[in-house]
Subunit: 156 residues, 2 copies
DNA sequence: GCAATCAGGACTAACATGGTCCCATATGAC
DNA sequence: GTCATATGGGACCATGTTAGTCCTGATTGC
């Protein structure tokens, strides 16, 4: 359920790698070596991240990539947007969709609202949180007020 | 991003349909007619829902399906589990995955924790909430404490 | 000029999904 | 008992998406 693509997963690793080398320009080869992701894949992902402004590129010899802004200013939602585009949780939550069932659909915009809530949560999580064995990820705050036992957490 | 499958979307519609006919046994044909989803697809989905216990089936002539338990006792996470299986947000969050990068991965279990938090949120949303033009979906409670402007909500 | 590096896009193989169909089994009416 | 009506389980295929690779062109520093 709710799977993110592998590229997004790799993209997170790459951004974390760059965050750990603040001030240095890393070539795609450097990043590939540091993350153990295949070089062509790293190149592809860095292009997308550059286009989204999450990394800044320098062309030419001794060129490479640096983080576009501070890790605290890059959210998980930013990474998803950069690598997966503005895809929504259901087809009919896309603005340009033409769901023929829309007028009949009893679910209404429920999934869309769920989608938005998840996005809010993902907006709260920054690259700084994703680094290393962080224990206090902000999402934890989102579960405040939940009284139901959390036993089922290990299902996923 | 974070897309749910179309079958899950349909499954929600089907469950809402059944919830609106509590006490009645609906055949797959009835459900197809009521939801405007193709009959073979409805049959397939109902089988999955029955296996998960979300609906109860009666075989034979005059058979059909009824909701397995009260709408308040069926969560969005239940629906996802029934129709998409225990798939996690990333491959390495699956228990049986063998991610060769796991020991090197600087992201650690961050995405997994995000996944779990989302699941908690989805556990809070029941079929009763998904019905009709519900305005007070419990997920709203999850955004308590968020101070950042919610302008970006409309991106998804 | 040359080597190193990014930019953009085309391309293919693998995988997941959506949708359909078939056959076995169970039930109720006649 | 027979028949019509249903579900149960699974096979099957067309389609779309994803992952990954490769090619060509542009830019920069030595």
């Amino acid at each position: 359920m709710l799977r993110i693509s592998r590229l997004t997963d790799y993209g997170t690793m790459i951004l974390v790698h760059l965050a750990g080398r603040a001030g240095h320009v890393c070539s795609a080869s450097d990043v590939a070596a540091g993350t153990h992701v295949a070089l062509p894949t790293v190149q592809k992902i860095l292009k997308f991240l550059a286009r989204a402004g999450l990394v800044v590129s320098a062309r030419g010899a001794d060129g490479g990539y640096t983080l576009g802004r501070a890790p605290e200013a890059i959210s998980a939602a930013d990474i998803l947007d950069a690598l997966e585009g503005p895809v929504a949780i259901t087809e009919c939550s896309q603005s340009d969709s033409q769901c023929e069932l829309e007028s009949l659909c009893p679910v209404g915009s429920a999934w869309q609202r769920i989608n938005k809530s998840i996005r809010v949560a993902l907006d709260e999580i920054t690259l700084a949180d994703l680094r290393g064995p962080a224990r206090d990820i902000p999402v934890a705050a989102l579960t405040r007020g939940i009284t139901r036992p959390l036993v089922r957490l290990d299902r996923g």
